[in-house]
């Protein structure tokens, strides 16, 4: 256990830890954790991501205690890379009402003039001014979230946040998990004949891993993927008919959507299992291999165009790996925001009603 230090001693303690070495800082990441369990999640992810980017990390957790003086104190440490210390870690403990001091405390610890990323660990709150205040103090900041651990209705919350929080750009782990699927589907249409087929999409079938507890009609990850395709096809409306089927329409195109929840052993809740797009005379599929669900295969059929099979390995993407990706380009992603908006539209009629 590291020794607790007062807030105004943090910079000094860090410089003592660095000794004669030159500190490395490329950005600050503030992880806001409502519970010690969330803090453990954050610490584990940061142990992976921070050394790879030279990030100063601030893990903030709070404890409700009404019997003591509100205070925030800290522990400081250095992350170790293969060549020695490579990044700074600060853990802040806010007790009781000191939670309201968190934004100012975070502000004084930001690495000057470098980007800041705010990560709200766990389920995003419907209303909590803390996130907005921290984001505002950090100025241009990115909030890392994970739509996959949220309910379907939270897509609308995220969409609202992305539109209203001027200082916050969302970086969604769930979106980053879709990268392989998007790239594999996109590469069919690098070829001229399939590209023509995009003018006449017909059906889209999406299989996803059903959540074992409280299964929902669609997972957030699948919704985001479909939302992405809606932006590509200019589809702006979704009309659900019989269960799992919807008609997606827009000014220039229409697409019949079928979503199928399934359960495949070893696959995370909500993850995509297969995507099959029929467009023009072609059928374009990306699916998990039967024998190994972490191998994702590319299979296409279209008259006159050979599609050699291609498989890629899809690794289990834990928070640390996803955070590392977010840190690579911590900027606003218009494609994500458009896809999120489309996904929120898609699920508006099937998501459970808002809490409370």
């Amino acid at each position: 256990m590291n020794q607790r230090v007062a807030l105004d001693r943090i910079e000094h303690e860090l410089s003592v830890l660095w000794g004669e070495r030159t500190p490395t800082r490329t950005m600050t990441l503030a992880a806001l954790c409502e519970t010690p369990a969330h803090a453990e999640v954050a610490l584990k992810a940061l142990a992976h991501a921070a050394p790879r980017h030279g990030v100063r990390t601030l893990v903030v957790e709070w404890q409700d205690q009404h019997d003591g003086t509100p205070k925030i104190d800290a522990e400081v440490s250095l992350y170790q890379g293969p060549r020695g210390p490579c990044a700074e870690g600060v853990r802040l403990f806010a007790v009781g009402d000191a939670r309201t001091f968190v934004p100012e405390s975070v502000a004084r610890l930001l690495a000057p003039d470098l980007p800041t990323l705010v990560w709200w660990v766990g389920d995003l709150p419907d209303h909590d001014v803390l996130l907005d205040r921290v984001a505002s103090i950090a100025r241009a900041s990115v909030a890392a979230v994970d739509a996959n651990v949220m309910d379907l209705r939270d897509l609308a919350v995220l969409d609202r946040l992305s539109k209203t929080a001027r200082h916050v750009a969302l970086a969604d782990f769930c979106w980053h998990r879709l990268r392989t699927w998007q790239e594999l589907l996109a590469r069919f249409f690098d070829l001229p004949e399939p590209l023509e087929d995009l003018r006449s999409p017909r059906t889209l079938k999406v299989r996803f891993q059903r959540r074992a507890r409280d299964p929902e009609p669609l997972s957030n990850q699948a919704a985001l993927f479909i939302g992405w395709l809606m932006t590509r096809f200019g589809l702006t409306h979704a009309k659900w008919g019989e269960p799992g089927k919807a008609r997606l329409s827009g000014p220039t195109a229409e697409l019949l959507l079928e979503v199928v929840p399934e359960q495949v052993e070893g696959v995370a809740d909500g993850a995509l299992l297969a995507v099959e797009l029929h467009a023009g005379p072609g059928c374009y599929a990306v699916k998990r291999a039967v024998e190994d669900p972490f191998v994702i295969c590319w299979e296409g059929e279209r008259p006159g165009v050979p599609f050699p099979n291609q498989c890629v390995r899809s690794h289990v993407l834990d928070d640390g790996t996803l955070l590392e990706r977010v840190l690579l380009r911590p900027v606003r992603d218009p494609l994500y925001e458009a896809s999120l908006a489309a996904a929120a539209t898609l699920v508006a009629d099937i998501a459970p009603k808002a809490r409370g």
Binding site: G54, P82, C86, R199, R232, P308, C311, L335
Partner: protein, 521 residues
């Protein structure tokens, strides 16, 4: 309502599903034909690099590899051999069977000689089959992993066999590209002859000359450092820079390549290519765009601006060395002349130092001290800009010597950038001392980027020649180096230096004569 982005009406606007994705550039499916498929480079570098591209999802589906060599073997044997090599030499371990199995379906082998037309007719048949089976659409990338003596016969026969499509026909017949490895000739005359042979069959836009130094992340970062930051470029000239040093130091000897090195030497092996490439990136003007022609236009101007070193100046401004027996890492090591396949009276240089000048507006009067050598004290490639002294010693002699500032860019190993500047030592007296502000890529960006071959093969598949040497660059480099090589032949033995040292005394004298010293690396 989110922004609408429907499919554009014109088919040639590109793939709308790629818009905004992290990977926006994927090569078109093509057949990569490797001449010299039985060779060491294919096993150690090329196939592992291609496999790594497949693992990282940059290898387009349908892209195929056709190994071409003299020895007879089936597709299956070729696949099996390459699997073994990839498992051993790929940076991604262990081999992913699922990825490999699909990747291996695109591996073909064609047996044939380099001289006669028979092998090329078979190759054409194989490539037609690959087009049908794999959808490669006539796109071919010919990679010549063979000695330069084979370049001529191969390109001539490719042309004769109808395997080279004109650039103008790319849209209908598919692209044809040629990738060749250095050495691009052994002097100006042979380089011109080689270029003439290649240009007889290929347009310059189809030729990709690999200098693997240009595939290194930190070499590319030289451009970013200079042209994505506003504060350095105003200092980057004769107004503020006293001199520049570029060092390419290796700690290894010839490592069993004695017969190759006897003909090459440090000048042909490193200076004419790697070192002058780095020099051109350091000294070039800002290109008008980050594209192949704009960048290479500026680079070639630098090499053309190098002041020729002729006649007696060769002995004054250059130093040749050859390592003698010495010690490295606490172990005795032999001298160059004791290495296998090296003549006991060899005059091949294993070390070169040059005082060069780039005669242009920006660099007039600024010496560029260049050095490259084998069996030196450690392996380091570094560029350093040594700034001018302050104009007036404000703090007096008692404050200590005011050292000029030095900006150093470490290319390998421990890639990074450091700035040495003066600082006050804390205390009541005014005492000055140099300190270093150090930035290390390894600390800031822990993940190593792709290997140079991965990057360069990908760029050649994409048809982006920015990171490849252009014909006029190569020619300009030979124009500079050839007179030195010719003069050295008349100067007798190179100056010996002990293995494990920092090179011959003459190299120190070269810079001491100007009141400078080599930077301690």
């Amino acid at each position: 309502m989110y922004s609408k982005n429907p499919i554009p009406p014109a088919a040639d606007l590109g793939n709308p599903l790629r818009d905004g994705l992290a990977t926006e550039r994927i090569p078109a499916p093509c057949a990569v034909v490797i001449f010299g498929a039985s060779g060491d480079l294919t096993k150690r570098k090329l196939l592992p690099a291609l496999y790594n591209l497949a693992v990282s999802r940059m290898f387009p589906p349908g892209a195929s590899i056709v190994g071409y060599a003299r020895s007879a073997k089936s597709d299956e044997v070729f696949r099996s051999e390459q699997k073994e090599s990839v498992a051993k030499f790929s940076r991604r371990k262990p081999l992913d069977e699922a990825v490999w199995n699909d990747f291996a379906q695109g591996l073909y082998y064609c047996q044939g000689g380099y001289d006669g037309p028979e092998g090329y007719a078979k190759l054409k048949e194989t490539l037609d089959r690959v087009d049908r089976e794999r959808g490669t659409r006539g796109n071919r990338l010919f990679y010549l992993s063979v000695p330069p003596s084979e370049f001529g016969p191969i390109v001539t026969n490719l042309k004769a066999a109808g395997l080279v499509h004109d650039v103008a026909d790319e849209a209908t017949k598919g692209f044809t590209r040629l990738v060749i490895e250095k050495p691009f000739g052994t002097d100006l005359e042979t380089a011109d002859a080689l270029d003439g042979t290649i240009r007889h069959a290929f347009d310059e836009r189809q030729v990709f000359r690999i200098d693997h130094y240009l595939g290194k992340e930190t070499v590319q970062n030289l451009l970013v450092f200079r042209f994505a930051n506003a504060i350095f470029e105003p200092l980057w000239s004769r107004e503020h820079v006293d001199h520049v040093q570029i060092s390419v130091a290796e700690d290894i000897g010839v490592e069993g390549r004695g017969s190759f090195y006897e003909d090459a030497g440090a000048m042909r092996d490193v200076v004419q290519n790697h070192l002058l490439q780095v020099l051109s990136l350091v000294a070039m003007e800002a290109p008008v765009a980050f594209d192949a022609d704009a960048v290479r236009d500026e680079k070639v101007k630098v090499v053309r601006a190098l002041r020729p070193i002729l006649g007696d100046d060769v002995a004054k401004l250059t130093v040749r060395g050859q390592y003698a027996a010495g010690a490295f890492a606490g172990q005795p090591v032999p001298g160059y002349r004791q290495e296998p396949n090296v003549s006991p009276t060899s005059q091949t240089e294993t070390y070169v130092a040059i005082k060069a000048h780039v005669d242009n507006w920006r660099w007039g009067g600024v010496p560029f001290y260049l050095r490259a050598g084998k069996r030196l004290n450690k392996r380091v490639t570094e560029v350093s800009l040594h700034f001018k002294h302050v104009p007036h010693a404000l703090f007096g002699a008692r404050a200590g010597v005011v050292e000029p500032d030095v900006l150093s860019i470490r290319i390998q190993p421990d890639e990074g950038i450091a700035l040495r500047f003066m600082s006050k030592v804390p205390g009541a007296t005014m005492t000055l001392r140099p300190v270093t502000m150090d930035f290390r890529y390894g600390a800031a960006f822990g993940d190593a980027g792709p290997e140079a071959y991965e990057r360069l093969i990908l760029e050649s598949m994409l048809g982006d020649a920015t990171l490849f040497a252009r014909s006029d660059e190569v020619r300009a480099a030979w124009q500079y180096c050839t007179p030195l090589l010719q003069r050295w032949r008349a100067l007798g033995d190179p100056e010996p230096y002990a293995a494990g040292s920092w090179g011959p005394k003459g190299a120190d004298d070269l810079v001491h004569a100007d009141g400078q010293h080599w930077r301690r690396l």
